[in-house]
């Protein structure tokens, strides 16, 4: 058995109560489905004094899909996101991404919010205390060097969420609540702004802040898709992934969005490729050129299975395949 470290469990019944608990206990961590955090806690990576379980917070559970777009609460289970027919139809990339997370049974437990706020991952970090002690601690936990890229000043742990690249490609905005001492304050911003290219402080959320949900714009004929590369057909995190969304209007591509996952400490938006394609007519040569630009956007280090060069080349191939399928 790998027992969880001791902690005090809080189960707030409202968003305000949850935020207050977090604000008042600096060593508290929010827990959603627990499929990421509990694993890390068993491995001794986190030992929060208080765990704030969000399952009973009603404000996080909403699901609204309407003409003007959709709002998906952070506490929605990945299985619900995966199975919702309206999402499948309008935001295919998201439902494909949710279906690609881990395995179906984990999709019954893991939440969309947990997936969006997923911790970054690295071979040298996601290990037991025994292993890390034996190998030497790393920047992200207890150490002062990066084991993956010795000499590096920063942590290169990878952001491996499946849904985040899809959501960003679809133009999602994050709704975040913070505690002003008395009540919950809500704000919204483009989801990409939640992330930082830093394996350690991966998301721009304060101790007293929570992700409430994700707002998707009206789909307006946008077609989207998500492809994930991993060693096995299930269980595995992505080693590289690509989400693409675009709209075809009068034979040209519009609102093109290409986002890469699992190749850096944050999702990577492939601006050059997007610019190249925006307003252009799709042709095999053009799509190939775009895919090549995508490959240039990242330089992963060796901290996952597979070689960095191969993971990059997969991003290129998958991007081309998605574009070819969608730009019709």
């Amino acid at each position: 058995m790998m027992p969880l470290p001791k902690f005090h469990l809080e189960r707030p019944q409202s968003l305000a109560a949850a935020l207050r608990l977090l604000a008042e206990s600096p060593d508290a961590l929010p827990l959603a489905g627990g499929t990421d955090l509990l694993v890390s806690m068993k491995q001794g990576l986190y030992a929060p004094g208080t765990v704030v379980d969000l399952k009973k917070v009603p404000e996080l559970g909403s699901l609204e899909i309407g003409a003007g777009g959709a709002f998906l609460g952070a506490a929605l289970k990945l299985a619900a996101v995966r199975d919702e027919p309206a999402l499948k139809e309008r935001y295919a990339a998201l439902s494909e991404a949710a279906a690609a997370v881990a395995s179906p049974n984990i999709q019954n437990m893991g939440t969309l919010g947990g997936n969006v706020c997923l911790d970054t991952r690295c071979w040298y970090f996601n290990q037991s205390e025994f292993w890390r002690h034996s190998k030497g601690y790393c920047l992200k936990k207890d150490g002062d060097i990066c084991q993956a890229a010795p000499g590096a000043k920063r942590c290169f742990a990878v952001f491996s969420s499946d849904t985040a690249p899809a959501l960003i490609a679809l133009g999602a905005r994050a709704q975040v609540a913070s505690w002003d001492g008395e009540s919950a304050q809500l704000r919204e911003f483009p989801l990409e702004e939640l992330y930082r290219e830093d394996g350690i402080s991966r998301i721009a959320l304060g101790q007293d802040e929570l992700l409430v949900g994700l707002r998707l714009p009206e789909s307006r004929g946008v077609k989207s898709g998500y492809l994930k590369y991993r060693k096995r057909g299930a269980i595995d995190y992505p080693l590289a992934s690509v989400a693409v969304a675009l709209r075809m209007a009068d034979g040209v591509m519009k609102d093109v969005r290409i986002v890469l996952g699992a190749l850096a400490s944050a999702p990577v938006i492939a601006f050059e490729a997007m610019e190249l394609l925006e307003g252009a007519q799709p042709s095999p040569e053009l799509l190939t050129r775009a895919a090549e630009l995508v490959g240039k956007r990242t330089c992963p280090v060796k901290n996952q299975a597979g070689t960095p060069a191969h993971r990059k080349s997969i991003a290129r191939v998958y991007c081309q395949r998605l574009l070819t399928g969608l730009a019709k």
Partner: protein, 162 residues
Amino acid sequence: MIIVKMTVNGNPIEVGVGDEETLLETLRQRLGLTGTKQGCDLGDCGSCTVLIDGKPALSCLTLAADAEGREITTIEGLAHGEDLHPVQRAFHEAGAVQCGFCTPGMVLTAKALLDANPNPDRDTIKGALAGNLCRCTGYVKIVDAVENAAKVYPRARVEEAR
């Protein structure tokens, strides 16, 4: 200590659990329901799968406190007395059990699948069970068993309801 009220295999149960206790610990150690297996304790293998309100979930990554008010089904709760559940029977007859360590998780996941979709094709079965590892069987007979169970499923369920 947190007092948790839940239903386990149809029986209402009240049990005191630690804040940091997993449902797997509670089932195996406090309730003696050792049919639920622990293969990794990290969410990687599926052997600890139980049904929570009918849906498969990994008990090694579920806090016991979260079982409050839920209906938990473990492998011990599937058969009606001597009568095996159709999925159990199909596993038996198809030779889908070897060492049996993955079996409880496989059977429960398969039951949940058939409850939701009594006529899955082979690929759907594989997709649904893909998070459950088995080292012995090479999987073929497990998928066969689920297919066979599906053939009798609606009828068997009617019988069960009676």
